[in-house]
Structure formats: C-alpha cells, structure tokens
C-alpha cells in the first residue's frame, strides 16, 4: 500500500467542479510535484490534503488511515505557503517554536529542536530577528524550518519559490531537495514552473482542468507527452497540425506531431533545405526559427562558438531524428 493514496476525490465550488475523480499514489520518501497552469486545481488538491479545504467526496489515506474526517491540526502534515505566512509578531525562534508550543513540548527539548531546525536551513544566527527584518528567501527558509520542526509525516509545499527572485529560487530549491533527501520526508510540491518540476521531482503529476493528465518521472514527461496539452506545457515542442506534418515529412500523417526543438540538427549537408528566419540567444542555447517546406520550426542548438552562428536569412539544412517524432492526440 502506498504511503499517501488519494482515491476518487471530488471537489466543486458553487456547482462547478474544481476537480473530479482524482486518484494518485505517493510512496514513502518520495518527492512528487503537482504541475499545471494556474486554475488547474493543483493548489486546491494540496489544500484538501492539508485539510484546509473540505472535500466533497473521496478518500485520502495517509499511512493507511483516512484523514478526510480529521481537522488540519490532527493530520500531522506540515505546509509551506507562497506568502511564507510567518507570524509577524513573533521572532524567528518563536515562529519555529510555535508548533512545539502547541504540542506542549518541554522548553529544553523545544529549544534544542528549534536550534536544530534553524541550523538545517542555515539560519542559526537569525533566531532573534523578526520576519520583517529578513529577505524573502530567508523568510521562506524560516517557514520551512517551522514546518519541519514538528516532524510532520508529510510535507506540502505550495509554490514556495514563486515570490522569490531567480538566483535565490534556484539555490533554495536545491536546499529544499537536499533537506528532503536527508530527512527522507515524503513531500508534495505544487508549481506552475516546468523547470522546477523537472529538476526537483522523483515523479510529476501533470494537471489540467481538474484532471491528472499524465504522471511519471521527469524523463517520461519530457520525452513522451501523452497529449497536446502535455506537449505544449512541458518543453518548447514544435506542434504541427496534420497538414504541416505531412508536408514536412513528405508522407501522409493523420494526427498532430510534436518535435522537440533540440532533436533537430542544423547543418550544411542535411536532408532538408531551410532558411533561418530569426534567432535569439538564450545563453548556452541559441534558438532559431527556420522555414522548411513552408513549415516554421523552432530549433535549439548548443551555443558552442560564435563562428557557428547562422545569420538570419542564411540557407541551411536540417535533419530531424525520426525517433524524436511524437504523434499526439
């Protein structure tokens, strides 16, 4: 039996369903991500698991016990919010100790555990500060320490990195993952950022319009999208309709076709003649828009040296790896 098992979960607001018939299983110690565009129901699902939003029907089993009838206090679940939700009237130390205070843990033990939790997020020297004296990244680390100190059975992270700037986001997500591995903590992470999901997760549940569209590890989701939505949401797939696909491949194609931009090679002696329409530099990658047989394709090429750069308007040729073609519904 899985550690977390969500079965036939229904939730609607004012008559219109947020999600219907959600089923998912999470193993002990796993780091899974609920990924999807805003409004897909991922945050609501997380709040239902936490007990902050009541469900209409269905079961949520945590370690083989249905937690749906339990109040949030009794579920033993820790949660980190996008807004940090630190208590402004308390110092960092008091914030972290709050959960232990509610559990009536003795002062000595509480102090030791708070110190340990703050050391874990590398904020040992900030115990006496107030939240308004901390940066966003530091606030979120305090929030993480606060939810870890009570030793929850399950950790929920609701877009914890969305309010932070890029550099801190990258650092903090690595830190979160390292701590999660160290503690072996079962974790559900909610995000709309595919890069975050791909780099962090053991497994990803891709959600759209209240459904789980696809689940699997990062590799599967990236290379084998099950439908148009999955292909459009993850990576920067070239999505061709049947007509364009037939023209490009010079054979009849009946469904839509998805081609990853990095599976196309630009060269001088390729199979197909093409013309560079425009290019943009993304750092280590150059992204070209090329015209092949009246089909516009996006091609990502590793930025090796300025000498390899193709100018706009230049005639080039492209080869497409046939194994990278995916027909999608």
């Amino acid at each position: 039996m899985s550690f977390v098992s969500v079965q036939k979960l229904h939730k609607s607001y004012a008559g219109s369903p947020v999600f219907e018939n959600i089923d998912c299983r999470i193993e002990r110690g796993e780091f899974v991500t609920l990924l999807g565009p805003s409004g897909c129901g991922k945050s609501t699902l997380l709040r239902c698991i936490a007990g902050l939003t009541p469900v209409d029907s269905g079961q949520i089993l945590l370690d083989d016990h249905d937690i749906v009838p339990l109040s949030p206090q009794k579920r033993g679940i820790g949660m980190v919010f996008q807004s940090y939700a630190l208590f402004p009237n308390m110092t960092v130390e008091q914030n972290v100790a709050f959960g232990l205070r509610m559990q009536k843990v003795k002062t000595d033990e509480s102090q030791a555990r708070v110190r340990e939790a703050l050391a874990l997020v590398e904020l040992g020297n900030f115990a006496g500060r107030y939240p308004h004296q901390l940066s966003g990244g530091q606030c979120q680390r305090v929030a993480l320490a606060r939810s870890l100190v009570t030793r929850p059975r399950l950790l929920l992270l609701d877009e914890p990195l969305s309010a932070l700037d890029a550099r801190i986001r990258k650092h903090l997500r690595e830190q979160i993952r390292a701590i999660q591995r160290e503690l072996g903590l079962t974790t559900i992470f909610v995000t709309h950022d595919q890069e975050e999901a791909l780099t962090l997760s053991d497994r990803i549940f891709l959600m759209n319009q209240g459904r789980i569209v696809q689940s699997g590890d990062a590799e599967t989701l990236y290379t084998a999208p099950v439908d148009l939505f999955a292909a459009g949401f993850i990576g920067n797939y070239n999505l061709l309709d049947a007509d364009s696909a037939s023209r490009l491949l010079q054979r009849p194609v009946t469904s839509r076709l998805a081609i990853r931009p990095e599976s196309i090679t630009l060269g001088i002696n390729g199979e197909l003649d093409a013309e560079v329409r425009s290019h943009s530099l993304l750092g280590n990658v150059i992204r070209y828009r090329v015209q092949v047989r009246e089909v516009e394709l996006v091609v990502d090429v590793l930025n090796r040296s300025p000498a390899d750069l193709h100018a706009d308007g230049q005639r080039v040729s492209v080869s497409i790896d046939p194994t990278a073609l995916r027909e999608v519904a």
Binding site: S83, F98, R146
Partner: protein, 264 residues
C-alpha cells in the same frame, strides 16, 4: 525662471501661513481670554492669570461631567471592540463576500442625520420595556453605532495587510485550534489598527453634542452638554473649558498619529 519659481514658492508659503493664522486666530483668542484677568474695554487683556483654570479644575460639577463623558466613550468603545473584533474575524475568514454588504451597513449610522435618528431613538427607547432615554446606556448604545465605521474600516485595513487566511491556516497546521490561532497569531497583529481606531473614535465621540443633548441632556451631562449649559456664565471660565477640552483631544490625536506612523 529660478527667480519666478522662488517668488512663486514665497507666494505659496505666504498663502499657507496666512490660512494657518486665520484658523489659529479664534483658538489663540480663546486661549488668551481664558488666561486673562479681565478683557473688555481694552485692546489687550489687563493681566494674565490661571485662576479660571484653577476654578474649572476644582469645580466638582465639571469633574463629574468629565468623568461621565469618559465613561460613556470608553463604554461605547469597549462594546464596539467586543462586538466588532469577532465580527470582522468571521467576515474576513469565513465569509469574505459579506465584506461588501458590511461596508454599506456600517455607513448607515452616518446616512441618517443625528437629529432625525435621535427622534427615532427617543420614540423607540422613551417608554416600554426598553426605556432608557435619559440614562447613559442609550448613549453608549448610540455611540457604538457611530464608532462602528471608524473601527470597521481601520481594522479591515489592518486585516487585509496581514494575510489573515494564510496566517490562520499556518497556525492550524502547526496544531493550534481556531481560538489559539486567533488570540496568539491574529490579535497581536491587529494591535496597531485597533489602537488607531480607538483613538480616532474617542476623539470624535468625546466632542459629540447632538445625541448627548437630545437623548440624555442634563440627566447625565457630558462635556459638550455641560459647555452648552454654561454658555451664560463667565466667558473666561468657558474659554478655559474649551481650551482644556481642545488640549485633551489634541494629545489624543497626536498619540493616534504617532501610532499610525509606526504602522507604515
């Protein structure tokens, strides 16, 4: 251009100072009159004295009136805190949609002129099982409705600034029940908004005359009613009363402003 700008600046400043002077003049006149031994036929008072203030602050009727005013205001404010805090909490945490309705409801006491609503109140509470016209109780109840908009707005702003829902959710997930979360996490963060609301309402209620005069009058005199009743006695004495009242409210307003500044 620079000279123009400078003369323009000088001109603007002069207008502002002149306006200030005009506004301060009656107050300065009252202050001077309250300190004058006598001031009738001459341009300036014949001498300065504190005797009117001493007379005022040793007058038992004034002290009683001052205390009664304080009591009515503090009573009304206590009642509003006890009723409005839980109300606001419930509205914002459980029924955020009701906020729009509440915003209209709390303005109703201001929509009806005091003279009109006091006639209604006299009818309703003048006799029968709820007869309390002429007692401080009706004033406390009436002042509660006047304080409502001040309290509601100030505390709402404060509530919106603290992200109530996430704080409550976080506290509950950490094992607090609703009461613990409200008392330990939300209430301490509303302290500033609450203090500002209380001081604002207090300054306003302390100077209220229409309701006090019509609903209770001399049966339970408040400061403004007393001032009205004393209008035929010594002008020096009344001036001392006005200045004392003004100074008291000024100090309170200053405190309210200080608290407001801390918040931003």
């Amino acid at each position: 251009m620079r000279a123009d700008a400078r003369s323009g600046g000088w001109y603007h400043r002069a207008v502002v100072y002149l306006l200030f002077l005009i506004l301060l003049l009656p107050l300065a006149g009252t202050l001077l009159y309250s300190l004058a031994t006598s001031w009738s036929a001459s341009l300036l008072p014949s001498g300065l004295t504190f005797k009117w203030y001493i007379a005022l602050w040793s007058e038992p009727r004034f002290l009683a009136v001052f205390g009664q005013s304080l009591l009515v205001c503090v009573g009304a404010l206590l009642l509003s805190v006890v009723l409005i805090l839980p109300l606001l909490f419930v509205v914002h945490y459980h029924f955020p949609r009701l906020d729009a309705l509440m915003n209209i409801l709390i303005l109703l006491p201001f929509a009806v002129p005091p003279v009109v609503s006091s006639v209604g109140l006299l009818q309703l509470y003048g006799s029968g099982p709820m007869a309390m016209v002429g007692t401080p109780w009706i004033l406390i109840g009436c002042y509660f409705t006047i304080a409502l908009p001040f309290m509601y707005r100030a505390i709402t702003n404060n509530l919106q600034a603290i992200n109530l829902r996430d704080l409550m959710d976080a506290a509950q997930l950490l094992g607090a029940n609703t009461w613990q979360a409200a008392l330990l996490v939300v209430l301490p963060n509303l302290r500033k908004g609450l203090m500002v609301a209380l001081l604002l309402s207090f300054s306003f209620l302390f100077g209220e005359f229409v309701f006090a005069n019509l609903l209770v009058g001399t049966r339970y005199e408040t400061l403004q009613v007393y001032l009205n009743n004393m209008r035929n006695s010594s002008g020096h004495f009344n001036s001392a009363l006005v200045i004392s009242y003004f100074a008291f409210v000024l100090v309170l307003t200053w405190v309210a402003n200080r608290l407001n500044k801390d918040k931003t």
